[in-house]
């Protein structure tokens, strides 16, 4: 550095010209900017494990299960409620929890696409999304694109379908990042460091590496399940209380039906579940949500005899089974998994035992 300073100043002094000094300064500044920015970009692109939140190792764990086709007999797709509430290790049939926090059927569709590359598919696919997950995908840019659940090709696909359906929710980044869709997708796919600055700060640059590595192993051994809230009970209100009506998003609806179609094409039975919500939320929630969601799901599976809905829609469970306003705690997850295991017990959903357990169809 000292050498650079001496070189810089001696040359400038000889020149004795403020314009020449300034030109050299600008060159050096440009070099410094490109160098520092390049290093940061290299870092964000090559070592996301060191600074991204737990979502990243969770996705790595699930991706590794999908790519190694280590899915067992039941593959579960859904959002964070599903991720926390279904423990594949407790399912007698064995399986994999491929649900992802904040995700909607859009992310699930692309995970299913990866799964379809496997020679042997799971015997049953379970889909369990919250009512809000059918209405929008607010975490698409904030989480799924940043973490890498949707890659460049998937993002292009979402843009195309959004345009076709005139659904502009996915056309632009949130938070005022007004970039053109192609540019934003390319930058996301290339892990442009500006999108990760918040994580870099919160993760103290490299402070999450060991934790994330541990989490990856833990989630893998739990077959994709991971808890969120860990309280011994919660009466916090979930986001359902903020909804006054149910209106499915066209683009989310498209991908949801695409999953059903893909499974039907391959003759894989699909089971639709609705994750429990706490009593506190049930008491405040708009009563029109439940029948509206039920009608929507019925309509979606009407033409597919291999798809079934089991269990009640948006069942209300005591607050003590929740670790926070949204997610089941360990006791809740264990209880719910046992219930799901009973529902899934028969090999064929159409069997008599299954029919007895099908509450709504």
């Amino acid at each position: 550095m000292k050498l650079a300073v001496r070189f810089f100043e001696s040359r400038a002094a000889v020149a004795g010209d403020s314009e020449a000094v300034a030109r050299r300064y600008i060159g050096f500044l440009a070099l410094a900017f490109v160098g520092i920015f390049g290093l940061v970009w290299l870092y964000t692109a090559s070592l996301p494990m060191a600074f991204l939140s737990r979502d990243y190792p969770a996705w790595l764990a699930k991706r590794s299960m999908i790519e190694s086709c280590d899915l067992g007999q039941v593959a579960v797709f859904g959002d964070s409620r599903t991720m926390a509430g279904i423990e594949p290790n407790l399912l007698p049939l064995g399986g994999a929890n491929l649900a992802f926090s904040g995700s909607s059927p859009i992310e699930a569709y692309f995970a299913v696409q990866r799964m379809l590359l496997c020679k042997t598919l799971p015997k049953t696919v379970v889909l369990a999304f919250s009512v809000g997950g059918f209405m929008s995908d607010t975490n698409y840019w904030r989480s799924s694109a940043r973490v890498g659940i949707v890659n460049f090709a998937a993002m292009r696909d979402v843009q195309r379908e959004s345009r076709r359906l005139h659904d502009d929710e996915m056309l632009h980044l949130t938070d005022g990042e007004h970039l053109t869709p192609l540019l934003s997708e390319a930058l996301m796919a290339a892990r442009f460091p500006s999108f990760y600055f918040g994580s870099l700060i919160d993760g103290f640059g490299f402070g999450r590496y060991l934790y994330n590595k541990r989490m990856e192993g833990k989630i893998l051994s739990a077959r994709g399940e991971a808890l969120f809230g860990t309280d011994a009970g919660s009466h916090d209100l979930a986001s359902e209380t903020e909804l006054s009506h149910f209106t499915p998003s066209p683009v989310v609806n498209y991908y949801f039906r695409s999953i059903l179609a893909e499974m039907a094409k391959r003759d894989v039975p699909v089971v639709l579940l609705s994750m429990p919500i706490n009593d506190a939320t049930c008491q405040v929630m708009d009563p029109s949500l439940r029948p509206a969601l039920l009608a929507y799901l019925h309509q979606a599976i009407a033409a597919d005899p291999r798809a079934t809905m089991v269990g009640p829609t948006m069942p209300c469970w005591p607050n003590r089974f929740f670790g926070d306003g949204f997610h089941l705690n360990a006791a809740g997850a264990e209880r719910y998994t046992a219930t799901v295991a009973r529902w899934l017990q028969p090999a064929e959903p159409q069997s008599a035992a299954a029919a007895a357990l099908v509450v709504e169809r």
């Binding site: 500044l29 939140s53 938070d175 990042e177 460091p193 600055f197 991971a226």
Partner: protein, 470 residues
């Protein structure tokens, strides 16, 4: 100019031109608020909902009005249409000022050298711009969450939350405005134009008068030139016509003080308040500052003898700075709140009406505290939380402290750039002038490069979306 021999017609033309400018401003900026007020909050959605505020309308309107008045007074030397249009629409000042005066800028626009590339001005401008970018994206924007937490839930904000919110907002608005001003000055300098100083470490002010001499300096100057002075002059003439005194002695009488100082001050500051936004809370913000300034003037006029700033001790000076800051903080509550009611709710939180809140401590520290920890827990002064939440809270508080250290202990951008005359007007040197003095060398190139890099990195937002805390 052609109307100069016919003063009445000239005044009429000027009034019409100003009315047109103000009409456009009122239509775009205040129409919605006026309709809301007149219809009791319902508004007329069809009429006002589609009005899109043109970028920088307040700034170019005020610039144009100032130009018109100066032109009538015969103070405008340069009259070319091209230069006038460039002066009004020169982009760096349109978002957050400074409010330009034709006498400062127009002479620069007629200089041929203004239109030639200057590497020196580009390097100076880039340095100033990068300071501003970091202030805006890294300092101001990181305050957003704690500001929202307090002001967004003013009705339940506890003592701790309310104070953190208002202190964070004081930092947010300071670095936001200072950052925008720096970026405007830097951008202009890249185009060989020097802007007037607009922000001069206002929280270092030891009185409210000084605060307004340091905060949005060009707005203060504009209001003094085109509102306060004409009003004060009219009052003086009126008193003169009634054979009432107009000198210093007359100002020191209650009646003279009220008419010659309080009336123009409060009126001017009310306008300043409304200029910042449409809403009663902005008017109250202006009135509070009008009151502060009146009290400050009263202390200046009625106090028998004053101690000069040089003679007063450092402690006394620090106390004055703190008192001024606290007074400004009180007014800022109204400035930031969504309504007058919300402002009072937050003030209630600041005096503990909604409880005092609990400091979160991790279990490991609580267990070390033993019985004391349990007692604090039982009384609700502390709350048990994970180590990560605790670190998060401590880092947040530490960041606020660091930013206040920067505000009060470090030189401002103009002081750092002092050797290269960054702005029009005189700049007092600041602390650390040996070390923190910019020059075009390798060390500063790296530092500015790093700052620009930080600025660009933080454009994607400084807050992370977290479903699960670490």
């Amino acid at each position: 100019m052609r109307l100069a021999p016919r003063p009445r017609l000239q005044t009429l033309a000027l009034s019409l031109a100003i009315a047109t400018d103000l009409g456009v401003l009122i239509y775009y900026k205040y129409m919605d608020a006026c309709l809301q007020f007149l219809t009791g909050g319902a508004g007329l959605h069809g009429l006002a909902a589609n009005i899109v505020l043109p970028l920088g309308i307040s700034f170019f309107t005020f610039t144009q009005i100032g130009y018109l008045i100066d032109k009538k007074e015969g103070l405008v030397a340069e009259r070319g249409l091209l230069h006038y249009v460039l002066f009004v629409s020169f982009f760096p000042h349109l978002i957050a000022g400074p409010i330009l005066h034709n006498r400062e800028i127009m002479p620069q626009l007629v200089q041929p050298r203004t239109y030639r590339f200057s590497a020196e001005n580009l390097s100076v401008g880039l340095a100033i711009f990068s300071f501003g970018l970091v202030k805006k994206t890294l300092f101001a924007d990181t305050m957003m969450d704690s500001v929202r937490a307090g002001f967004g839930h003013a009705q339940t904000a506890t003592f701790g939350t309310a104070w953190l919110a208002i202190l964070s907002f004081a930092l947010q608005i300071y670095f936001d405005f200072s950052g925008y001003s720096d970026m405007a000055i830097g951008l202009a300098r890249m185009f060989n134009i020097r802007f007037p100083m607009n922000f001069n470490s206002p929280y270092k002010a030891a009185s409210i008068i000084e605060l307004w001499q340091r905060w949005h300096m060009t707005l203060s100057r504009y209001l003094a030139l085109y509102v306060y002075n004409p009003l004060a002059m009219a009052i003086t003439r009126r008193r003169q016509a009634r054979n009432l005194g107009i000198g210093r002695a007359a100002q020191a009488t209650p009646g003279g003080f009220a008419t010659m100082v309080v009336v123009p001050t409060v009126f001017t500051m009310s306008l300043a308040g409304i200029w910042h936004g449409a809403g009663m809370q902005y008017l109250i913000f202006g009135l509070i500052h009008g009151f502060y300034l009146s009290v400050n003037h009263a202390m200046r006029i009625f106090r028998p003898h004053r101690v000069s700033a040089a003679r007063e001790g450092k402690l006394m000076h620090a106390m004055k700075v703190l008192a001024t800051f606290m007074a400004a903080l009180f007014a800022l509550v109204f400035f930031r709140s969504s309504s007058v009611g919300a402002a009072f709710q937050l003030l209630g939180g600041m005096i503990g009406l909604h409880g005092f809140g609990a400091f979160i401590l991790p279990g490991i520290i609580l267990s070390h505290l033993g019985a004391t920890g349990q007692a604090l827990l039982a009384k609700g002064f502390v709350q048990s939380a994970s180590a990560i939440d605790f670190v998060d809270q401590v880092c947040g508080l530490l960041w606020v402290v660091i930013l206040f250290v920067i505000v009060w202990g470090f030189p401002n951008t103009q002081q750092i750039m002092l050797r290269f005359e960054p702005v029009l007007g005189k700049i007092q040197p600041g602390p650390f002038k040996g070390v923190l003095s910019w020059r075009p060398n390798a060390v500063w190139a790296c530092a500015v490069g790093a700052m620009l890099c930080l600025g660009v990195l933080s454009l994607g937002g400084t807050s992370e979306f977290l479903y699960f805390q670490f």
